[in-house]
Symmetry: C2
Subunit: 376 residues, 2 copies
């Protein structure tokens, strides 16, 4: 595994060198983990001139799913910071790493300005006044977009776990239970089946809440005749997937429910079928969106219909009307159009898929729970 | 309630004016909630020259525990940001609020440099090049240290909920269950009893893990003869409390377990008894620490023995050897000394208390679960 992380750091180093910095300081946790194999809380990675260092405030944990620091990397553990000392920066790994960059002879250091706070950025300047601080921008995030087969295998396992948790929930009695309890039960089942934990806050939305993206569960109880939308995901080895389904509670869905479901299903299928290597992100979005638009729902639509997943649940690329860029093979994305009608509820259908060439069978569906409209 | 929030904003405004800024931009979520009554995701609060504005990316949620924006405050909801547009700052409430500050004639704006990223700070400078950006520092955090009786009542309810959840767990069979499952069950029980959610990641530590501060649960199972340390807390109306207890599994604790427990108990009691208005924070820490020091455990001690709680679980003040400042009445703090012996385990005992004058009965213990050494 060591070679994987070393190769990623080499790619980043090439980008930095091209940008005029021989050294880089990576602080965003998902980026640290991508390049170092683990990201203990607060740790930063220094891509130095002479060697790379993982600078931590404590020893790495012993939970297998938190990863292990790449063995080719030197780990420097700072002594416990005395709390509330005169200097707020004592014990800050970013400050320590900046000092180490200077020791290695760096004259320029690229930092993640979109992650470091303004106060920490200022602290780096003051410990190393002769060091030029450049902006690394989202260079690591860009490296993370295309996944290798091991990363995809972890996403695949996470998707299986989410499918299992969801499948079990559907076999239980739902009427009368609250959104919050159903969400907690799903999260427990994710862990039962081997997830590191939930990939994000599980969303369970009933009745008028159904179909809302990112709805946070309330104490509303499931009632006969409700739409029930569920969105959950597992984290496995740090990789996060997502599945969303909408069900109807009771024996016979109303006509408007069937119509709305069929429409969102058609939109979601159009989005999935648009996933071919080389397609523009905005064209995938448009494929899904125009199905809903043409049925008169343009007002009810979310700003995006999908996004990348990986070490974070909401990564590049975005599938949205103004997105730039194209999808490459081996990019995992969600396709998740939905319609929410205020006061009535709505439908969301959400899959995680990996873009694959047609010769390899086309897009690989990771979340395989049925998308028929189930009446529960 | 409106008067409470308006009064807090008035106090902050006085501090800003004293610092030379007539306007302030508050972005840290707990600070926004403290001053505005609610903090929808991404929202910022502008303390403007002519009026105060809560700038949001979407409508406030409808979950009662997320709070409601103070009615005396104008709420400005930005249109959905088109994802991945040319400008990364379109739709950033901080950028929009900065523009509104300029419209109100501000020439200086105090911002939270310890919360805003360097990239956002730069974006504010570029939308308002003639505006002087000052540092608000931790002014709001300082206002939050002393609580009013309503805030304390919410902490008290949260502590009752945590006591209930813990009490129920102790009645169940523990041997053979994993740390992760016990932690999930505690979190479910917190919600069952009316918590908004857990106050922080519930820690369950068995055997050699016991006694570790902030131990994150693993798949290790509870065994006969283990120490079992549990640390949990409830969030109620946004306010977070904390309780930690250590138990022994099996009928008869070993001698070393009884000795270590008695020692940590004595240290924790010394810390609790030191909580009088006007005491130096470091003296509370020393009271607890010296009990452990004098027994020869100075190496095994954590960097702090307690901290404030409130809208965040780890607030000022810190109870640590180098802490400055004194404790006022109506400051809720934890007292949580512990000893962890590598390879063997250890003991932590953690309460949330409110500093009260002796005339009012002395420190108010919010977490009332017994601190006898229970053998389960």
């Amino acid at each position: 595994m060591s070679e994987v992380y070393a190769a990623r750091r080499t790619r980043l180093r090439e980008r930095c060198n091209a940008g005029g910095s021989a050294s880089a300081l990576v602080s965003r946790p998902a980026n640290v983990r991508y390049l170092a194999g683990a990201a203990p809380p607060g740790a930063v990675l220094l891509l130095g001139r002479t060697e790379d260092l993982l600078v931590c405030t404590g020893p790495p944990g012993d939970r297998p799913w938190d990863g292990r620091p790449d063995e080719s990397l030197r780990v420097r553990t700072l002594p416990d910071a005395p709390a509330a000392t005169a200097s707020a920066t004592a014990g800050d790994p970013a400050v320590a790493a900046t000092g180490l960059a200077v020791t290695q002879g760096a004259d320029s250091l690229a930092v993640e300005e979109h992650h470091l706070t303004a106060a920490r950025h200022r602290a780096l300047s003051s410990v190393a006044p002769h060091l030029r601080l450049a902006d690394l921008g989202c260079a690591v995030e860009q490296l993370r977009v295309v996944k290798d087969e091991e990363e995809i295998s972890w996403l695949r396992i996470g998707a299986e776990i989410a499918d299992q948790a969801l499948g079990e929930l559907l076999e239980s009695i739902l009427v009368g239970r609250t959104e919050r309890h159903l969400a907690l039960e799903l999260e427990r089942r994710l862990v039962d089946h081997g997830a590191d934990g939930p990939a994000f806050v599980t969303s369970v939305a009933t009745g008028p809440h159904s179909g809302r993206r990112g709805h946070r569960p309330t104490d509303r109880r499931v009632e006969e005749g409700d739409f029930l939308s569920v969105c959950l995901g597992a984290t496995y080895r740090g990789y996060r997937c997502e599945i969303g389904r909408t069900f109807v509670i009771g024996t016979s869905p109303a006509d408007w429910q069937i119509e709305l479901y069929d429409l969102v299903f058609a939109a979601q299928r159009a989005g999935r079928e648009a996933l071919v290597p080389g397609v523009a992100c905005r064209d995938v979005d448009r494929a899904a969106r125009q199905v809903l638009d043409s049925a008169g729902y343009e007002e009810a639509l979310p700003p995006l219909t999908g996004h990348g997943v990986g070490l974070e649940i909401d990564e590049d690329p975005q599938l949205a009307p103004a997105s730039m860029g194209k999808l490459d093979a081996c990019v995992p994305v969600t396709v998740e159009p939905g319609v929410h009608l205020p006061g009535r509820g709505g439908v969301r259908i959400d899959d995680t898929l990996v873009v694959r060439p047609e010769a390899d069978g086309g897009p690989e569906l990771l979340t395989i729970t049925t998308k028929e409209l189930l009446a529960l």
